[in-house]
Symmetry: C2
Subunit: 105 residues, 2 copies
DNA sequence: AAAAATATGTTGACATACGATATATATCGT
DNA sequence: ACGATATATATCGTATGTCAACATATTTTT
């Protein structure tokens, strides 16, 4: 088991959105908002900082082969490591809730 | 419903520890470590920054009436607002897991 | 008597998450 | 044709959380 460094809410939703399939920055922002019923609004500053960060980590990667008319968009795909990290984070959240269950009623 | 600003892992565990009853800084550090099976280690720098921060927010408060021999320890208690914040955070975590359930299998 | 555990605190450095701001194109309704 | 809105990407500054390291003092254990 590796130590699961906590993910921020934004990062969590970004990875989660990409787990469905490749997507681009703006698409992820919209999807995260939709998935969370409008509660999670990822700003562009967060988004584009996060992508470069997640690429550095090897959790997502850019896809370059795109059809015509798609040049404006930069597509990202979740890597295997990224999926692992996401699963680890889900596990961490489960644990946090489990502990809350123990401590509180 | 208020907007639940995400809590950091450390803050979450601090509030959770205090939900059992008043405790002091060092006690919270030990308890968090124990509750998380040694995974969450809150350093003193984090701890004492967090307490002053949480007091400012009104989520915890210091208790001064202590028995003899307890002068060395500074006891903190969860306030009603703090409990609400903790419950809100738990709700937020639940939602994050629920969304993951929807999106992934 | 020495060592380890208990207990609180400060400081400095670092990473980074986020909001605000900027830019540019595309689409849609009127 | 025009304005508004949606699409899409990107930078910059700020605030903050966190850790490591240092500092101090008491209590308990060996």
């Amino acid at each position: 088991m590796k130590k699961n460094e906590p993910l921020s809410e934004s990062y969590y939703y970004i990875l989660l959105c990409l787990s469905k399939g490749p997507n681009h920055g703006y698409g992820i922002m919209s999807m995260a908002r939709q998935l969370s019923d409008g509660e999670v609004k990822i700003g562009s500053g967060t988004m584009y900082g996060a992508t470069s960060n997640l690429i550095k980590k090897g959790w997502i990667e850019e896809i370059f082969s795109q059809g015509p008319g798609e040049e404006r968009r930069r597509l990202y795909r979740l890597t295997a490591e990224g999926r692992e990290a996401l699963l680890g984070e889900i596990e961490r959240l489960r644990k946090m809730l489990a502990v809350a269950g123990e401590v509180m009623g």
